[in-house]
Amino acid sequence: MPSTPRPRRRTTVGGVLGELLVTVGVLVLGFVGWQVWLSDDILGSQQQAAAETFAQSLSGEAPAGEPAAELRTDEPPVSAAPGDREAFAVVYIPRFGDFQRVVGQGTSRFVLDSLDLGLAHYDTSAMPGETGNFAIAGHRNGQGGPFTRLDELVVGDRIYVQTSGVWYVYEYRDSEYVEPTQVDVVAPVPNQPGVAPTDRIMTMTTCHPEWSAATRLITYSVFVGWSETMPAELAAIQGGA
């Protein structure tokens, strides 16, 4: 059967323009899909890796030591406030799986959007373990979305905060949904501005609902103890890592 060569279609300006437009469309759709389904996994795993590195540098100076079987309940040591944007702690939330994120000082965009940090400490709030309110913020979605699952905490869930040489343990108690202007949730005594604190509270804030900035999800946890090495219960979860 004689095969006639297919007539070669000529490249025209319109044809190239059409192909370019289709390409742009595919790229834009790809970005939308990436943002919704992939971005938090990809950027989040970068934040996780950065946190694992930083956690090692926090405990790297001293010999790692045995995990602490018992939590101490006496007065915990409190570190001085770090400089703006400085990384100073790592938060572990086993409810979210293998979850470690670095806390940076100040709730600036720089800290919140950073792939090396991700959690942002309200710089006017208490430091971990300090009497008062240790308050941090994190994105619900986007830029790693550390707090995507913040609404899944169950009463009694433990949250571990590692600083240089000290581990603070908090236990989740309750949450509320507030307007973005409700700054009193990060007051030393939440929602009672001006009242002198007697308890050690940890507050985490994020956006609600997902992909929206309409309201804020606020979670409160209370301090239960501290240790000088990784608490044994967390070490067990982390597989002895």
Binding site: G138, Q143, P180, C207, A213
Partner: protein
């Protein structure tokens, strides 16, 4: 444009197909791990998660 690319590629069509797939994979990788993260961080800041 893409027709021209196809004609420029060497070899019989299965070879060309393999090259095209490899190119596509490379482009997808660059987009997913480099271009899209940069676009998101630069042009689509996520709304603040803070109370203020």
């Amino acid at each position: 444009m893409y027709g021209a690319l196809w004609r420029v590629l060497p070899g019989p069509w299965p070879v060309r197909l393999l090259i095209v797939l490899a190119l596509l994979a490379g482009v997808a990788y660059a987009l997913i791990f480099h271009a899209y993260p940069w676009v998101m961080q630069t042009f689509f800041p996520t709304p603040d998660a803070t109370v203020e």
